[in-house]
């Protein structure tokens, strides 16, 4: 199969691919239903995958940037202390059925982890991960991919893009060698002929003009709107934890008699402790300041450094927020100059 080509993928064939992956002991993360809730979890077969969900909660970034990751370990104590680097052996992983918006986030993460010295652990994970995104046939109120340069059929960050065909099966766009290899597990496939009609993609109305954001944010720095809009914010870390692009972490040392280890753990700028100083002073004392930091980081500071927004418009933050904070709604209002 050739990179850049579109192939026909019957459900049976896809199941065969899952079987092959299971056989090779490849970790497959996909949207899976738990009670009424769809989360990104390990799956063994296609049947387990919730293909109908708009978005799974939880972030695919966990595949390359685990919530808890060991950076080093040590044994002994006092004079005879020995450090050990972990071997960067990441498990072969397929992230299956995430939406194109979320797939784009892997690029944004790479920008952070590799901008100065490459993060060997992150890179090892990324190298071992194949991203199979699933083109959208539906969108909800929280979606705003089109406002941040994405779309229901965007290919950026994906190795393979699947799109549902009318009358079943998928169209599979091979985007990278990794995608090629994955599809190869199914043996030879037929290119998709003209008869293969894609399910229509949803209309995702642009909610705001991203180009206007940096300027609008600069202007709004001292505006009361931050405090106003974050009154209902509970100050939990959910938005950052479910965000596919958020990459803040906290370093924790866990010591035990006879040794210990150093861990990298997800962190969130929404939490009061995020900037709390040992003295008790907190430069971001109020939730408004934290909300401002979150938004400005994504649409002002990050673009300044990497000339790309740290947001893919997936809307996971809004869906997960216990107080219904909506980035989309806020940015729409902001750019409409309020």
């Amino acid at each position: 199969m050739i990179i850049g080509e579109r192939y026909q993928l019957a459900p049976k064939t896809l199941e065969a691919i899952f079987a092959a992956l299971a056989r090779d002991g490849v970790r497959v993360l996909a949207p899976r239903r738990v009670d009424q809730h769809v989360a990104l979890l390990p799956v063994k077969s296609l049947a387990e995958v919730a293909l109908d969900a708009v978005q799974a909660s939880g972030s695919a970034k966990a595949a390359v940037f685990p919530p808890v990751e060991q950076l080093l370990s040590f044994t002994g104590s006092g004079q005879d202390l020995r450090l050990q680097d972990p071997e960067p052996t990441a498990p072969p992983t397929v992230v299956f059925g995430i939406r194109p918006c979320e797939a784009r986030a892997f690029k944004s993460l790479q920008l952070v982890f590799d901008w100065d010295s490459p993060d060997t652990l992150f890179d090892a994970h990324l190298a071992m991960t194949t991203v199979v995104s699933l083109g959208c046939t539906q969108a909800d109120e929280a979606c705003f991919c089109t406002s941040v340069g994405g779309g229901p059929r965007d290919t950026q960050g994906s190795d393979l893009l699947l799109q549902p065909l009318q009358g079943g099966g998928f169209a599979a766009d091979v985007l990278t060698a990794k995608g090629q290899a994955l599809l190869g597990l199914a043996g030879e496939l037929l290119p998709l002929g003209p008869e293969g009609m894609l399910e229509p993609a949803p209309e995702v109305e642009p909610a705001f003009d991203a180009a206007r954001l940096p300027e609008a944010l600069e202007a709004a720095f001292d505006s009361p709107v931050w405090g106003e809009e974050s009154l209902r914010c509970l100050g939990c870390g959910t938005c950052a934890f479910v965000c596919p692009t958020c990459s803040c972490f906290d370093i924790q040392d866990e010591k035990r008699d006879g040794g210990g280890r150093r861990l990298r753990c997800w962190d969130s700028c929404g939490l009061h402790q995020f900037t709390l100083h040992a003295s008790g002073h907190n430069p971001r004392e109020t939730q408004g300041q934290r909300w401002r930091q979150r938004v400005s980081h994504k649409f002002l500071y990050f673009p300044e450094r990497f000339s790309a927004a740290a947001c893919v418009g997936c809307g996971k933050c809004a869906r997960a927020c216990p107080a219904d904070m909506s980035l989309k709604e806020f940015l729409r209002a902001l750019t409409r100059g309020r």
Binding site: S77, G78, Q79, K255, R256, D257, S279, G280, H281
Partner: protein, 663 residues
């Protein structure tokens, strides 16, 4: 990095015989933070202690672990040694290699391994020890004695004679208590008044004693050594400083028919009165409830005839405040009201009386001048029945406990009666005779053998009236429950001893615990009988349990000694193992959220509120504070605190956590 020294004691063969002490020391030497680890035959010996002291100096140790016997044995020894070496004594901990290891395990690697663990545990702890300093709280050398009965008087005198000021508070118009009502006292039959009155006068005249009669404790704040007592002086309606106790007011008072409390209602008193002739102070008090003036606004006879012009009918209650360092509770007892015993006919038949009434009848200063005349018609009773345990040892209708004094005073009553009415018949119904005490049993024997008192072992089922006689129906259990019926002229009930009705509110006012019968509870039933669980508050007399006079007096002196002991140092010095609530720099101030859920967990009411205010004085935060004077260091509050804002010095979260993690 800490500089800990570990000293492993062989305790001769006691530890060395089972544990490889050298190996333990060697293992300890490898522990991070340990700069010195040695083993020695006897660490507690002088050379052993010197070894420790030298090492502290030479190796500049900041922590010491002595691996030897139980800390309950030698912790003071080694902490002293540590202190003498110039280190804070609380930088020394002990690993218990003897009681907890060598004495309970066989000689084996596993035993030595355990010893190493125990040492590591203490090393991890001591690394986190902080220098602690004994808690010093000032002591106000002034005592408050509540209750002016014989116990209170005795305690007050003992304390005052030791040179300390005493505030003596009595709620009735005169001190003296129940003892002043008694005729003669067992087992010597000497006159109660004769032995009590001098004491009453002595205490009232004592330069160190401030006496407040007709007064009650309003509230008590503070803690051991530092109480603040507010006393309500009820309005006597006279100016005590002017009144000379001439008694004219009493003569002139028109209100005559008020039952006399002192004589147990056997006589009457006026609306302005002195409770009894030997009262101290000998100053009258106006009975506002019965005084014509307060009912009608007219009369003022007393005021008119008082040539001292001492009457103050508009006088109001007054609150006085005293700082005191200790409190003695001597509030005494009451006898059980007998309404619940209709079968005895008390209150129905005037000639069924209780023990105290009999005391007044027998008393030379009583309404009959000591002549044995029964209440109903003043005739001399020819047959008198005494019923013991009226309410005592009766779980159903009375109290389950023994009132202790009844057996003795019943014997005394029967005797006194026989002395006064030679031909008379005295019958005592009893369950057992409990006459444990110096020359007590002899006394009862005398009643039976010399004074011919008849003792019938059995309970009385019922007392009723029949042609002018009181028929007492009972059974003689010694004769196989054979029914006994005695036609008496008077019946005397030995009513149960009870705590005062207001004992409970008082206990709560003072934060002292009390038993199910509302007697105040001692700190330990055997070893701390005159202390309460509230530091600085002591017990004397029948407010703790039924007591007779010698016991009350002994206990009062005991309480007095405790008070004097407390007053013997300029300040109280206590172990610094107490809880503290953290304080942080602004803007945090304290991690305490001020929920005060810890407050009810504290057995000592040691947790107070502290308001943290800005320089401008505006309230920033209300947080908990542990009163170092009250805290005893149990740490219950620490485990209750969700934010870990409270910690226990000597057993801090960091220390204990480190101990667990070391294993």
């Amino acid at each position: 990095m800490s500089r800990v020294g570990v000293f492993v004691c062989h305790c001769g063969e006691n530890i060395g015989g089972t544990v490889d002490c050298a190996a333990v020391a060697a293992a300890a030497a490898r522990l991070p933070g340990v700069v010195e680890a040695v083993d020695y035959k006897y660490m507690c010996s002088d050379p052993g202690q010197n070894l420790l002291k030298e090492a502290v100096k030479a190796k500049r140790l900041d922590g010491v672990v002595v691996a030897a016997c139980s800390p309950r044995m030698h912790e003071p020894t080694f902490r002293r040694a540590t202190e003498e070496a110039g280190l804070n004594p609380y930088q020394c901990e002990m690993a218990n290699l003897r009681e907890h290891c060598s004495w309970v395990h066989l000689k084996a690697d596993s035993t030595t391994a355990k010893a190493v663990d125990l040492v590591r545990l203490q090393v991890e702890k001591v690394k986190r020890n902080k220098p602690l300093h004994p808690i010093r709280v000032p002591v106000t050398r002034r005592a408050l004695v509540l209750g002016g009965g014989i116990a209170g008087i005795q305690a007050a005198l003992d304390i005052a004679n030791a040179g300390h000021e005493v505030i003596l508070v009595e709620k009735s118009p005169s001190i003296g208590g129940h003892m002043s009502q008694l005729s003669e006292t067992f087992p010597t039959l000497d006159c109660s008044q004769c032995i009590l009155t001098p004491r009453m006068v002595e205490v009232a005249r004592h330069p160190k004693v401030t006496l407040y009669t007709w007064s009650e404790l309003e509230r008590l704040e503070g803690f051991v050594g530092n109480f603040k007592a507010t006393i309500r002086k009820k309005a006597r309606k006279i100016d005590e400083s002017i009144c000379n106790g001439c008694g004219v007011c009493q003569q002139k008072c028109p209100v005559k028919k008020i039952p006399d409390e002192f004589n147990e209602g056997l006589s009457f008193r006026k609306a302005i009165y002195v409770p009894f002739p030997q009262a101290v102070p000998n100053k009258p008090v106006v009975d506002v409830a019965n005084c014509t003036y307060y009912k009608t606004g007219k009369c003022k006879a007393c005021e008119k005839y008082c040539d001292q012009k001492a009457i103050r009918l508009d006088q109001q209650d007054e609150l006085v405040v005293h700082e005191v360092g200790a409190v003695v509770l001597a509030t005494g007892f009451r006898t059980m009201p007998l309404e619940r015993f209709p079968e005895y006919g008390y209150g129905v038949f005037p000639d069924v009386i209780d023990g105290l009434k009999f005391e007044r009848l027998a008393s030379a200063s009583g309404p009959t001048g000591g002549a044995m005349k029964r209440p109903s018609d003043g005739r001399t009773p020819q047959t008198v029945v005494f019923i013991a345990c009226a309410g005592s040892r009766d779980a159903q209708k009375g109290v389950p406990y023994c009132s202790k004094i009844c057996c003795m005073y019943t014997a005394k009553h029967a005797m006194l009666y026989r002395h006064k009415v030679h031909g008379g018949r005295a019958v005592v119904f009893y369950m057992d005779v409990r006459a444990a005490g110096k020359s007590y049993d002899e006394f009862v024997r005398r009643a039976v053998e010399e004074d011919g008192v008849e003792y019938v072992r059995g309970r009385v089922s019922r007392v009723y009236q029949e042609d002018g006689k009181l028929v007492v129906k009972g059974a003689d259990t010694l004769l196989g429950g054979e029914p006994v019926e005695i036609r008496a002229d008077m019946v005397v009930l030995a009513t149960a001893v009870q705590a005062h009705a207001d004992a409970e509110p008082l206990a709560q006012k003072l934060h002292v615990s009390y038993d199910p019968y509302r007697f105040f509870a001692e700190a330990h039933p055997k070893l701390r009988p005159v202390e309460t669980n509230t530091a600085g508050i002591f017990l004397a007399g029948a407010c703790q349990a039924p007591r007779d006079i010698p016991e009350s007096v002994a206990q009062a002196s005991g309480a007095a000694v405790k008070v004097c002991g407390l007053f013997s140092q300029p300040e109280l010095c206590r172990e610094p193992v107490i809880a503290v609530v953290d304080r942080q720099p602004p803007p945090v101030f304290s991690h305490c959220t001020g929920c005060f859920l810890c407050q009810s967990a504290c057995p000592y009411q040691a947790i107070e509120q502290e308001e943290i205010r800005s320089r401008k004085g505006e309230l920033l935060k209300t947080v908990a504070r542990v009163n170092p004077g009250l805290c005893q260091g149990c740490g219950t509050c620490v485990a209750t605190c969700r934010t870990k804002a409270i910690d226990l010095q000597g057993y801090t979260n960091e220390q204990v956590f480190a101990e667990v993690m070391s294993l």
